[in-house]
Symmetry: C2
Subunit: 437 residues, 2 copies
């Protein structure tokens, strides 16, 4: 049997403590699976005296994660500190330069520095594994990096943020407002005091940027993504969607188009009967659409100490099964130096179906005027619902349009025209529709 | 760059031809991903002159798959012949003994001979990959063998047969009889002329037996599985299920219990709002439930030349990324010699909820008599529906009972008692309910 794999862990929050505990509890089983034992030999964290409910006897303590990373006493450096810069980045760089494998759950670090880190890892011939960085315990990185070899990916999309999905699920199931659901999510610890990052889509965008690189062999561009959050989604939208056979999800979507790659995060209508529409609460899901395989969906826990630890341990086990001299597959599926620049498709050229909700004066001719504007912009309609909904005020009514495939530019122009006509009594709502099996 | 990986393919049906075509078409991309090129250098099939729409120039032809398997001119032997014995088995054994890696899509071979083959592969230090053998293009083998390291699996279940799921989907969506749907499936090529293997659950059982071994570290026991097919499912069942918030799927289920492992294949009620309930038509899905991660579901194409080829190519690419001297993870997750004997839990001790549909004489007191028999057997009821359904004949009515968690033994006894009481005018229907998120 090969020598023990020596693991150093930096960051002992919920995930780190869970990794330490599981590696100990499942030691015999992991040894059987990997053909060698895995031992946590060193850790680094801020407070040495805090009780984390784990046994650290015999484990070397480092106050500085960077010193642990560069130490000769480990084979794998596990980074669970967080943040795109500062200690996390410096420690990961130090570990790679020292020739250590690295496992990280840090999506911010990867989306900002992934390319540079991948170059170092590939030059040094070590593994940089990051299954936990996207969709928690769901093995989407391994699937895209390994299982889908030979497949050309045309689209990848998913529910990548548990907080946003929790809020949308409760809004739908309990007919509550966005504000009430957010407050509840904060009370239950599913949402931060400042929830912007989750509900405005930034977190989803970080994760999506990593999937995009894996899918299309492009350099990661986390800041060049179309972004729209869920804070303006109302009960009126959710109920109208439901009547028309749709459910609203915050999706991250990356699609290969003729003019480049669309990367977008926005509230999205998916068919109620689709698999992804049943992904509720804090659960995550990712769908990959390829030329050979077709549509593959993975769903499971997207966050939480244990689910994240599961992905981290899977990554460590892969390293334990490897041996010196093993040539590893590239970090982002293709060699980092061969990743092509990301060419962004213009959002205005996005093609798809649209849901449009308009609140208008209940006057003769308004409906005809709207229909005319849609026709002017060559938008063909799949369904039109007009009713005196209780969401519209007195003397007003709601008109809901679902379009056939059209372009973002046409829809924006039509809505501008309708707004200019002066019929609207409230802000128009436009939600994109995404095909899903 | 390392030397080309030389691939020999035995069996050039739909899958084999697709593998040859994709390896050629995606050669440059696969080389980028694997760090070496992958070339089909030899093939074996029955008819050399058949037009398969693929270019075999420069590829050595073998009439005998066993000769190809033992040839010194290949590094990987891909077995796409099929069958648990005969040429497929002999060729795979020959390849392993010759020190070649093996990729196979052959579920029958693995479920019958997997243990013996794994022992040879592990002794020889070569890979035996079989992603395509279970659930087609869905990467469930890699997920269970690699990603879930450190997780203790408590339950694995799934829709593993596209033909059966296609029939159940059409029965539900179009209110057709089992017989009509089967005839259609045969016309469309989704079902064989003799459909027994698919609709009676044998195919599902083969696949389940492989997942059970991976899940629980036990030896494969394909012939020791409780089996019940879908041929006795009627519109009455499907509609009653729907009224009560359930959908009927043919599931393969393996669960760890106190008295051993339950392996069972049967029509199953799953909640209509669950993710797996939305898996329609020929699509497959597998759910794995673990102590650390929780519930993970994968869904995608379960059959077809391209989907299967995708899994085969993923397996070949993994071998291309490995290098001589690399110590591979064991074939079934744990070393073959350490797999424990499969201890079967008795079906009578199965615990769960049950759906029971009874057709009875429409007489005073019958309902009370049935309720009493359920109480006698200590079965508590979640819901009771009694209606003069159009599925029951004149002067008869249908009673549907949904039980809380109880045992198979209690349910069988209660149904026996009710039958003995003489109230039933038709065969009673009993369908197990499975929890699913």
């Amino acid at each position: 049997m090969a020598e023990t794999l020596r693991v150093g862990i930096a960051g002992l929050g919920t995930v780190g403590a869970s990794v330490v505990r599981v590696l100990k509890e499942k030691e015999a089983e992991l040894t059987r699976q990997c053909g060698r034992s895995i031992t946590v030999t060193a850790v680094a964290a801020r407070d040495k005296n805090r009780d984390r409910g784990i046994d650290l006897s015999g484990v070397e303590w480092f106050d500085d994660a960077r010193a642990l990373a560069a130490s000769g006493k480990i084979d794998v450096f596990v980074e669970l500190i967080g943040g795109a810069n500062g200690v996390a980045r410096e420690a990961v760089e130090a570990a790679l330069h020292a020739g250590h494998h690295v496992v990280t759950a840090n999506k911010a670090l990867l989306s900002q520095q992934g390319l540079a880190l991948a170059e170092i890892a590939e030059e040094k011939g070590v593994l940089l594994n990051y299954e936990a960085a996207v969709a928690g315990g769901i093995p989407i990185i391994k699937t895209m990096r390994e299982s889908l070899a030979g497949n050309t990916i045309n689209r990848v999309f998913g529910i990548l943020n548990g907080t946003a999905n929790y809020i949308l699920t409760r809004m739908e199931q309990e007919k509550l407002s966005f504000e009430d659901c957010l407050a509840d999510a904060q009370r239950l610890g599913y949402a931060e005091a400042d929830p912007t990052f989750d509900i405005e889509g930034n977190d989803t965008a970080h994760k999506l940027s990593i999937l995009t690189s894996l899918a299309f062999g492009t350099q990661i561009s986390p800041d060049d993504i179309y972004l729209e959050g869920i804070s303006n989604i109302t009960q009126a939208d959710i109920q109208a969607a439901s009547e028309l056979g749709y459910r609203i999800k915050l999706l991250g979507v990356a699609v290969r188009t003729e003019s480049g790659i669309e990367q977008r995060v926005h509230p999205t209508m998916v068919p109620t009967a689709s698999v992804i529409a049943q992904v509720h609460g804090v659960t995550n899901a990712v769908t990959v659409e390829t030329d050979i395989l077709g549509e593959l969906l993975l769903s499971g826990p997207g966050a939480g100490g244990n689910a994240t630890a599961s992905a981290v341990i899977g990554d460590i086990a892969d390293i334990a099964k490897s041996r010196p001299g093993f040539q590893h597959g590239p970090v982002f599926g293709r060699p980092a130096r061969e990743l092509t620049p990301y060419q962004r498709a213009r959002m205005r050229s996005h093609e798809g179906g649209y849901f449009i909700r308009l609140t208008v004066d209940d006057r003769l001719g308004v409906f005809a005027a709207i229909a005319t504007r849609m026709a002017d912009n060559r938008i063909s309609l799949e369904s039109i619902v007009q009713h005196a909904s209780n969401h519209a005020g007195e003397g007003q009514k709601t008109i809901i349009l679902v379009t056939h495939e059209t372009t973002e530019a046409a829809v924006r122009k039509a809505v501008e025209d309708i707004t200019a006509d002066g019929h609207l009594t409230d802000k128009p709502q436009v939600i994109r529709i995404e095909r899903a099996a």
